[in-house]
Amino acid sequence: MSPMLKYQLNDYKKPVLYYYMIFIAIFILSAGSTNITFNGSTSSIQFAGIEFASMIFLFVTGLNSFKDNFFMGIQNGVTRKELFKTHLLEMIIIAAVMSVADQIFLVIGGQVANVISSLEFSGLMQIGYPEYFSNQSLLILTLTNLVFKFVLYTMAIAIGYFITVAFYRMSKKIKTIVSVGIPVTLFMLLPMLDELLYSAGIVDLHISSRIGNFMLAVTGSSSGNPWIACLFFFVIMTLMCALSWLLLRRATIKNR
């Protein structure tokens, strides 16, 4: 194993460990607290889509895994090419480990939820693709579940990483334009334009609905097929990685 990979994995070890410790603590606490009654009514606790939590966690770690590693690598004679390769390897390793871990949690959580009736425990697949979930054999289901998580997680890391590399490469001016421009365009200009075009009769369907439909289609929700989502996540992940490399290739250490 290259020293850089060892270094980066070592860097990831603590946050991942903390993440699962907190996760387990919350789970045990809630499993215990379900027996307590408030005002005569038993509380019901839902753990729905634990993958979503992991995805956010990995997106944030993706955001945090560029600058420090880039500086440390360059100081120690590691090339950008090696840094990128290490990033890919690390992404694959972390996503794989967490996919398996989350899958194990899903199984254990499901068993515990079976015993404690007021506890609900379900994965993203179960919620997003109920039909597929109830129709497949356990083996196929587990496999789909693992692949689904894996591509989802790699995508989350890849997006986070891309955003930081992109911000690192931007000049102060562009940084400001982007940080203001994107939310304004997305949440003000676009809805306004959408409404304008629709009320003027130029488009027969809201752009937002079209986007919504597109999202439903590419995540396989409309067809009930999680493999379509896997493909979509994979494409996004590949795109993000490719763009990250183009930006990293010429990244420099600014003097001050």
Binding site: P3, M4, K6, Y7, D68, F71, M72, I74, Q75, N76, G77, V78, T79, R80, K81, E82, R250, T252, I253, N255, R256
Partner: protein
């Protein structure tokens, strides 16, 4: 084994930081890379160490292209003003990781140096004062054992005792196991006896690149009454002059061959610091600016 820079240029937006720089860093020599702030010293080092890329030209380390070449990069270490370690990393950890990246890194020596400089390795590197941050980076650079080690402003924030200790340890290390040392600084006086080769850079161009001893022997000062001095140095390569009342001192670069010195004229030794100030100040060189005044 050497480092070669061939026609290296660097442009930042609208400023030309380096202009066709040609340089060699030979094996086992101590170089002083001198220049004023913003002259391009750091840019040269940053390009060699892959922190920045050259807009034009090429850098070779031991015959291999330096850019994005891990094999070549393993032969150089750059200690820079900028702290490259993560904010939460402690000194001890940073040393440990340096040892993981550089197989020749001498961890015991690094700890010995930390002791000598009274550096607390349990502190986060990023929380160290300017002086101790420099010290930490110096310790890594002195322990890394790569064939080329670059020091960019190594004594920034160090007190006189620590500066002396650094120069001593550097010489000790170098004389026990020679390596190529490049010290980039504007504190010339302190390193003038240590460096073998001197490179002076001004506005992105190399204006001097020769042995320190030769340069010192080539330069001298002539001082005395204005009219006699002026007559004596007419036609010589003047690089600067000072005037105090009727007394004038002119700094000359070139062979010293006065057959007989007129009364009241004194020949003095060239001071590296003074030479540096003279040749890098923006005043015209060799212009008869005094006649225009």
């Amino acid at each position: 084994m050497k480092i070669e820079l061939k026609d290296v240029s660097k442009k930042f937006q609208d400023t030309q930081a380096l202009n066709k720089v040609n340089l060699n860093f030979e094996e086992e020599k101590i170089y002083g890379l001198l220049g004023r702030n913003g002259a391009g010293k750091s840019t040269i080092l940053n390009i060699i160490a892959n922190r920045q890329w050259a807009s034009d030209g090429q850098v070779f380390i031991d015959g291999q292209s330096a850019w994005e070449n891990s094999q070549a990069q393993k032969k150089v270490y750059l200690m820079s003003e900028k702290c490259m370690y993560p904010g939460s990393m402690k000194g001890e950890k940073a040393l440990k990781w340096s040892a993981a990246f550089y197989p020749e890194f001498d961890l015991d020596y690094a700890k010995f140096l930390a002791d000598a400089f009274e550096l607390n390795l349990n502190k986060k590197v990023s929380s160290l004062s300017t002086g101790y941050s420099s010290i930490f980076k110096l310790i890594v650079a002195l322990s890394v054992n790569t064939p080329f080690v670059f020091f960019d402003e190594p004594v920034l924030g160090l007190d006189a005792n620590h500066r002396e200790l650094f120069y001593q340890k550097l010489i000790e290390k170098y004389s026990e196991k020679p390596f190529t040392v490049v010290i980039s600084t504007h504190l010339i006086e302190e390193i003038s006896q240590i460096i073998e080769e001197i490179i002076i850079i001004d506005h992105g161009k190399i204006i001097f690149n020769e042995s320190c001893e030769e340069l010192l022997q080539r330069g001298y000062t002539v001082s005395g009454p204005i009219n006699i001095v002026d007559r004596l140095v007419a036609g010589l390569n003047r690089i600067g002059s000072d005037q105090l009342g009727g007394l004038k001192t002119v700094t000359i670069l070139g062979e010293q061959n006065f057959s007989d010195l007129p009364k009241g004229i004194e020949i003095g030794k060239l001071d590296l610091q003074k030479l540096f100030i003279k040749i890098t100040s923006n005043k015209g060189v060799n212009n008869d600016h005094e006649s225009n005044a």
